[in-house]
Amino acid sequence: MKQVKQLDRVIVRFAGDSGDGMQLTGDRFTSETGRLGNDLATFPNFPAEIRAPAGTLPGVSSFQLHFADHDILTPGDAPDVLVAMNPAALRANLAELPRGGRIIVDTSEFTSRNLAKAGYGASPLTDGSLDGFAVSALDLTSLTMAAVEQFGLTRKDAVRARNMFALGLLSWLFGRQVTTTVDFLNRRFAGRPDVRDANVAAFKAGWNFGETTEDFAVSYEVKPARLAPGRYRTISGNTALALGLVAASKRAGLPLFLGAYPITPASDVLHELSKHKNFGVRTFQAEDEIAGVGAALGASYGGALGVTVTSGPGLALKAETIGLAVAVELPLVVVDVQRAGPSTGMPTKTEQADLLMALFGRNGESPVPVVAAASPSDCFDAAIEAARIALKYRTPVVLLSDGYLANGSEPWRIPDVADLPDISVEFATGPAGPDGFLPFSRDEETLARPWAIPGTPGLEHRIGGIEKAHGTGEISYDPGNHDRMVRLRQAKIDRIDVPALEADDPGGEARVLVLGWGSTQGPVAAAVRRVRKTGGQVAQAHLRHLNPLPANTGDVLRSYDRVLIPELNLGQLATLVRARYLVDAISYTQVRGMPFKAAELAGVIQDVIDSE
């Protein structure tokens, strides 16, 4: 038996060509890692939606996994281990690997043609440029070919199993189980026995290679993390969001209707929901985003939980219809999985730059609640919360996720169904009162109007986007009525019950508060932890509700000397907070299509503390 070394955390990055199956490999390694009880976070990073030519830099696809024996908050800044399936993958990722890091490469790919495609003059394997790294230069291709020879595959299919060889090797290196992955491969390729057998063989060969050759003297063990007891799975943001919507539908007792038009990185929510027809979920792939939200609104009008899901360009297109939903005051959940803009931007890259559009991107005074998910698994709860608000207050709600949350994954403690909030609502029932049915009368507490769905005898009424008289809902051009209705719609949103903002400041002496929203939660928390480790005093708070903001937000912010708001945009939450509370918040921004790195952010926080 080889030596086993204990580590508290490891960051592994698989990188290869788009065709090399890196995402599958990463996903699989993630499942095994979760199963071992580590805490984990992942960051898949793929190129533009379209396939770049094999072997080129734009074609590189990578998957990073951070796992640890304690709770972790981000997929990690820099990998400890880089698996690079070709020269381009090495070149695209090397800069982020710290000196001393381990590199595993497939030597057979380092041909002069491939080196040229990646822009290398000489081979980095031989020109000394990898000095200082722990390089395992292996001929993965030949090793794989040898392992699968017996199955008589084409060369192409045989070489394709390379990723499983690599997975096997890494599985050995970090003490992952063999059987569960073998089971998985058997299920996955059930329909193609030769491919199945080759993949299993390659995987096992990789494992055995680690176990037997001398290239690898030690293997590593990362002990399980002390996670709260319960049943766990790994889950990505998009899957969590889709499941949250199904759960919301069940807990509301209303059928779910999704009207959507495919768009990166939101399409997977449509894909996932289209699988759950036995939950009564209707998915409608519309002709465009406008029809998607229109159909969802039509379904809401009919008494369903109407949902639409899109990304930035699609949200822009839906603006007019969301405005209609504001005017007719019907529930509607609008999911925006943000991506880098403006315009088409970088569809596969993350950003948080749709916040102000969500808040203000409609004609007239058109207030909508905005909820932002904080982590992949939080997409589940955020979806239920968005649905709760939409149903209770009869309003469209924008739920913001982003590319980083959508594709990233983490362990999720599966909630007990009975613990999920009851978000059921009551439809209005006939007969109408003595003055007839008043579709625009309001609940005293919530200011919500009655929801009378077609099919309810005696409540026949008309709604529309023209200004309506308070109470009756008849068309009204009366100046005073308009002023009243505008303010009532605003007041309804302002009084939504959102939980108070909580600042975390264990030392109780912090003068600086870091305020995050959406997907910056992980990086902010990780950065704060770093700062605290080195003795820095800093508080943190996270906004999940962007509209309305928690009632105590101003008080919280004003109790610190400085407020730092890191965002993946040019300072949108900062704009909001400054306008609302006149707090001179410091905006720290990056728009690189990538999440913040904890180390960088820690530096920024420290600078603010030091400048105090």
Partner: protein
């Protein structure tokens, strides 16, 4: 007044227990169109026709866009949704495909339905969504006070085309047939019997029924259609090519039902898939769904996969 065969078009819609009359369908709202507007005639024809459906008022929904014509729903004592410009077919698609128990009518204009809303229209038609789509064609934008529309003739002088429009108009019937609509008809505001006859057949057809209604706008396009024009009743066919050829005739203008063919409607197909999913997989169980295929359990300090 005989009741529509509740066999096809309205099969999943419950029947009314009581006999309703025209007056039951009049809302309390003052009708606000210009004097002499063809919309009045269509409204009266509709109010007169609705009792025939034999459907209770609360099961009937009118969804419209924006335009003079789109104010229609306010005047009917049914459920009504006056939405935004061009989007009624999309909104109605969500409603009709999730509520097969409703009789859903879309009211649109030549601008609303063919200009800004053209795409939603052709997609609703190809999908065969269970809607009765009535396009009031006055060949003008009425509500915005008189610009040419996608059905205005070439050379038309309007506020936005002071020396004549240069846009070749759509023939709405041809366009609907190009989208392979399963029911396509044309009728006229001024011929109540004909109009009601077409409405009757549209309602009886399950799936998307498209009806172009020639409608006079005495203010901005008076006399675009007149009783003196020659009209000829087309023969209904289920052959798309034949129907299309019939739509190309112009003098006399063909009216009536060009095509009427039976195809499964969108809500049926959707409901079938849901039903089959339940049959094969059972009613969805939320706990099972949340668990997914791959879980592990952590007890105090330990992990074990299930």
């Amino acid at each position: 007044m005989s009741e529509i065969q509740n066999g096809l078009g309205l099969s999943p819609v419950p029947k009314s227990g009581v006999k309703l009359s025209m007056k039951d369908f009049k809302s309390d709202q003052e009708v606000r169109w210009c004097p002499g507007c063809g919309d009045y005639a269509i409204l009266a024809a509709m109010q007169g026709f609705l009792p025939e459906l034999g459907v209770p008022k609360e099961r009937i929904v009118f969804v419209s866009g924006i335009g003079c014509s789109s104010r229609f729903p306010y005047y009917l004592d049914t459920y009504g949704f006056h939405s935004i410009h061009g989007r009624a077919p999309a909104i109605a698609t969500g409603l009709a495909s999730s509520r097969p128990d409703l009789s859903v009518w879309v009211i649109t204009g030549d601008g609303d339905g063919l200009s800004i809303g053209g795409n939603h229209l052709i997609h609703a038609l190809r999908r065969n969504v269970n809607l009765n789509i009535l396009l009031f064609n006055n060949r003008i934008y009425g509500l915005t006070k008189g610009q040419y529309s996608p059905t205005s003739e070439i050379g038309k002088i309007t506020k936005s085309s002071p020396v004549g429009s240069i846009d070749r108009p759509f023939n709405p019937v041809s366009l609907a047939l190009g989208a392979e609509a399963t029911f396509v008809a044309r009728t006229i505001d001024s011929d109540r019997r004909h109009l009601q006859g077409v409405l009757r057949r549209a309602a009886a057809h399950r799936g998307a029924s498209f009806v172009e209604i020639y409608q006079n706008c005495p203010i901005f396009n008076d006399g675009a259609f007149s009783r003196d024009d020659l009209f000829r009743e087309v023969e209904t066919t289920d052959d798309l090519g034949e129907a299309f050829v019939a739509s190309r005739v112009s003098d006399p203008t063909p009216i009536g039902v060009f095509r009427d063919v039976d195809r499964p409607s969108y809500d049926e197909l959707m409901a079938d898939q849901l039903g089959r999913a339940v049959q094969t997989q059972g009613e969805g169980d939320l706990a099972t769904l949340l668990n997914g295929p791959d879980t592990w359990t952590i007890t105090e300090g330990s992990a074990a996969s299930d």
